[in-house]
Subunit: 332 residues, 2 copies
Amino acid sequence: MKIAIDAMGGDHAPEVVIQGIAQARDERPELEFLVYGDETKIRPLLADDTRMTIIDTKEKINSDDEPVRAIRSKKQASMVLAAQAVKNGEADAMISLGSTGALLAAGLFIVGRIRGIDRPGLMPTLPTTDGAGFVMLDVGANAENRASQLVQYAVMGNFYAHDLRGLAKPKVGLLNNGTEANKGDALHQETYQLLSELDDIDFIGNVESDSLLKHAADVVVTDGFTGNAALKAIEGSAKTILGLLKHAIMDNGLKAKLGGALLRNGIKEIATTFDVSSYGGAVLLGLKAPVVKAHGGADAKAVYYTVRQVEKMLEAQTVQKVVAYFDAKKQA
Amino acid sequence: MKIAIDAMGGDHAPEVVIQGIAQARDERPELEFLVYGDETKIRPLLADDTRMTIIDTKEKINSDDEPVRAIRSKKQASMVLAAQAVKNGEADAMISLGSTGALLAAGLFIVGRIRGIDRPGLMPTLPTTDGAGFVMLDVGANAENRASQLVQYAVMGNFYAHDLRGLAKPKVGLLNNGTEANKGDALHQETYQLLSELDDIDFIGNVESDSLLKHAADVVVTDGFTGNAALKAIEGSAKTILGLLKHAIMDNGLKAKLGGALLRNGIKEIATTFDVSSYGGAVLLGLKAPVVKAHGGADAKAVYYTVRQVEKMLEAQTVQKVVAYFDAKKQA
């Protein structure tokens, strides 16, 4: 398995990227890496370059570049070259910690869509209080979606939850503004209907955004606009409240600091529940190969788990299953 | 000022309703109440019925009633009679702790819309870490909105933030999936454009849902579907994390309980930050009179503050200002 790595994306590139993939390489003998980026920066980080090929390039996509323009004009950018390697069959998958918008454009215009998929969806794995986690898509690859696209997300998310998360029959829910069947706008009412008629998945109906962290479903289907708002609201609230808790412990004198120390195990447990780095990155589902976005602030451990996630997708042939499914649909 | 009270809605009706309005009545000599509900239950709770008129009715709206049908068929329900009192001019405003959907229907079909407002919006006041709070509308009165309706929300939210929250020039933001001007679907791009052209408000551009609790804006404008998803995601996340914190303190042995005790002040501060009961209930803005939904689980204190909120709206003539604004628009 060959994985193309954009080594120059993210806040701590290329250090954490190289550390993370080196760990995966050491543990998994079947993995090979094509590493795209500034060799003068990458080489000193690599004590051992077994199963690693560095492809030197000085160009890179910046977080404030206009995505589509950047992908088209910066033809030697590390992200663009990594995507080209996937397109040309030199690599089986790609990983980047860089701009989500640019990766989306690279996925769409270079790697390409699976036949039958109109719009790829961005799918992170999010935490639940029971520790199981769930996937949600689309969380923002699209600003607008049609009902047929949401059905495609349900099918793809279902394959992923089965293959990567080990669920025999994942529970698939539709994010809506109420649980009753007739809830939502025209888009969500139509989607509900289409999902109800789909035999291939276990559609459990509508779910609301206040029950997501309680594991309302294994796969949450949503249009990119609503999914983006729900995801950011969850992330922002969690960060804000945990920040307030930290403030309560650190800025309230010695007594509070002692209280925090005594509570350390419990607080660590909360942090562990919300630490999703072992789930890997956000997958752009609907492309001809696994294209995965690790968080810009990811550490080496998160990069390592993203590699393991990609390895599992390749092993389980998740993308091939999606391709076969939509080919069969087309012929039927 | 006469306020019509649906005394039978909510989880702890009529007890908390009567307690809350009695406190307001004792403090505010200009307030009078028309109290709709089961007199045999209400009367024993009222030691003193000064400036309170009980209108006895045994019928009430249940939380699982289909809203529009319930409003049309249960003509003697406490909520329906309260709305009728507003329509007939016997009361200046109404408060209910009952079903949001039914109150929306009662507002729309009985109290009636302001001329120039297509669709009333539901607007709660939410907390911010700096303690100031913000308002957001629509959070679910509508499953779908047009851009012109979002502009109406901006104008109405602006009047409210000025009158009730004491802001000379409230900052108005549009909830979107990115901060750049060209972000979002067609609806949000069009709304951005229209808000930019509006002289009457201080439009600060797009805001994202992960910055709402950090006081990204004083008035957050959103379509009902997205607003509902964002609101519930915030509420659900806050509840989940605070629940985990409680679990960390209570279920981790004596050491953790002691830690929790030492942290009490800090935790109380967090709880205070997130306690929005002093802001009152969610206002249905766009109706001919203040119609306010207090939380179904509200206590007497929250009911008291909802009365005070309504009193301020009446005093500031917020609804009349909205009426005048849209009348002037129409003539221009």
